[in-house]
Symmetry: C2
Subunit: 379 residues, 2 copies
């Protein structure tokens, strides 16, 4: 129940352990086609260029930036957490003329300030994080898309912690470049990064005058392997692709809407339980992630001691704060397979025990569990 | 029996399918320590900075170049196959002032020509491929190391297709930067790239004035995660690390020398068989790889038809030629688990059947099988 990797279903682990075949074997090429179609369903897109990048989420971030930025291109990155900072760092290393517009960690972006920065800097690409794993904030995409339209910029969105748990509607919201990770709401081991690219962004790719700074992540080459030509580029991580295929089959069986609703319900039950225990969420209700719940550490409670007790006595991992939120929040993941009613109840129970050890008194009678169970029973 | 991925032992597949834990879980950190020690044994090195890069072999190549090259640094790449060409391409994209010295595909490097180029260009880094997967040529490292000493350059060596199958003696041969892949002679699924860096190359890393162009592969950041601090960088591909740990345990059990000898013996048996069948190896005897055998396609025989028949009728994959050797050679892998006497005999038998279909007459009485079996029985 940390900020990822989430629990992986046995079916996915079993698929991953099937014998390895060649990356140019006709059977593997057939699997690639099926994975691409699954990813299009997942991203709600018809984008031709939709693939799993051969690396974890940060490799997807890097592929998303490096391929759409050339030396000196103006790029605006919106920052309200660690992953926004990382996006800006990647953009600078890509050679972009990168400017940033920053907001307090744990708060959403202010579109007016983003617009002001965009009008000032004239970016060709604006990057934002949909689900800030470092803070638990969900950012709505629409207002940033509007700003992109006003200044003629491509929109790049990080959906590492939202894809599969929250609605991510690539075509409806007109996201140009969207990447994610497998180890969060998809409940697949870490190792691949789903990526989709709009036709407009593909045009930028085709009209580059300098090659991408990364050969490994160069989509102009990678798309020839994942495209009809199947030109060998690099050896794909075969087993990880088996795992992704099975993880996406499980999502198809559950249904995307049902999966989003499950994530929402378990999140709401967790919040009800925590609040009934006298604890506070670190993010205001209108922009809380369902997949990652940021909880303010109560005054006088030892961050590390609680997390260590949870791990050693309850076999339960949660995350601490990152960056400026270190020591101030806990991050409780309810992602993919991990988003289960029994996990919500088990966590509340375990946390209560740890807090008592720390001298933090919760209301008698298991008020937290009762509130969570009540919310769950309402469905 | 293609140019990789090689067959993966069941033990490795089973290890890979164990439940996923967090990348900062104390148990995973312990596993990381053990993997680093295993890799040091494998590379025959005491280099502190020895890690599996989170991507397939080409990601290791990119990490090896990007981290040790800054804008405008002179780099000399030795080319005698596709992977040398790729190294040069990666170096150019890294911003290096890259020059090359080229030799015919299928032939080793000529040290005199390399020395001449090095004296002319004054490179700070010379890159070479130990085992050219595209041609089957093994390149001896010592003469290139001597040239590096003469001009004061770091030595970068690609051992993707040799590590675990041929002696790779990083400390003895004073290789500064050495990378490999998991899916060749280590018989682990593709997804990680073992990398080791000498103290001298680490100095270059520490004294960089510009950040590495890749954030994902930045060893100045990655070494803090794999070092004592364990600072979070990116999410490691957990399951792939389980697999690598088990694959390296199997190598320890067999013993590295025994493994090299096994690769040599099976290679010699294959060669004996092929020659007895009237076929020709594409590489001269003194520089043949044991792990990848390049075989000249006989006049009048259809490359693709034979490979397709092998795959569909015999469930046997071999590789075609790459680059300028396309249509001219077959590449037969005897890597890791795949390097087995029964595979040598099975392949010879299957190939003979396919060649007969193509009208290519081999000596009667199974001369190829007999010659191979005889070589095997001598041990």
């Amino acid at each position: 129940m940390g900020p990822g990797p989430s629990n992986v279903p046995t079916r996915v682990l079993q698929a991953m352990s099937l014998p390895v075949i060649g990356h140019l074997d006709p059977d593997f090429l057939g699997l690639m086609n099926r994975i691409q179609n699954q990813l299009r369903e997942l991203f709600r897109t018809s984008n031709r260029l939709t693939i799993p990048v051969s690396g974890t989420g940060s490799a997807g971030m890097e592929a998303s930036v490096l391929n759409f930025v050339e030396e000196g291109d103006p790029v605006l990155v919106c920052i309200n957490g660690v992953f926004g900072i990382r996006l800006a760092e990647v953009a600078r290393r890509a050679g972009a003329r990168c400017t940033t517009v920053s907001f307090p960690f744990g708060r959403p972006l202010d579109p007016d300030a983003v617009r002001e920065a965009a009008l000032r800097d004239g970016p060709r690409l604006i990057a934002m994080v949909h689900a800030e794993t470092s803070t638990g904030v969900l950012q709505s995409i629409r207002p940033i898309r509007e700003i992109c339209d006003e200044v003629g910029a491509l929109l790049l969105v990080d959906t590492v912690t939202s894809l599969g748990g929250h609605p991510v509607l690539v075509d409806d919201e007109r996201i140009d470049i969207c990447y994610s990770g497998t180890q969060k709401c998809l409940s697949c081991p870490p190792g691949l990064s789903p990526l989709t690219v709009s036709p407009k962004a593909e045009e930028k790719l085709s009209s580059r005058t300098q090659p991408c700074r990364s050969w490994y992540l160069d989509l102009n080459l990678v798309r020839n392997y994942w495209g009809e030509q199947r030109t060998y580029h690099h050896t794909a991580p075969i087993s990880m692709n088996y795992a992704l295929f099975e993880a996406l089959r499980i999502i198809e069986e559950e249904g995307l809407e049902a999966r989003w609703n499950r994530h929402r319900l378990n999140h709401e039950a967790l919040v009800a339980g925590l609040e009934a225990m006298g604890l506070k969420l670190a993010v205001s209700p209108e922009c809380r992630l369902w997949s990652l719940n940021a909880l303010t550490i109560p005054e006088g409670v030892d961050d590390l001691a609680v997390r260590q007790q949870l791990l050693s006595q309850f076999n339960l991992e949660i995350g601490g704060g990152l960056g400026e939120l270190k020591g101030k929040i806990w991050r409780v993941g309810l992602m993919g397979e991990t988003s289960r009613a029994e996990n919500v109840l088990y966590f509340l129970h375990a946390l209560e025990a740890c807090l008592h050890q720390q001298g933090f008194a919760t209301p008698a009678g298991g008020a937290g569990l009762v509130a969570a169970a009540e919310r769950l029973s309402r469905g």
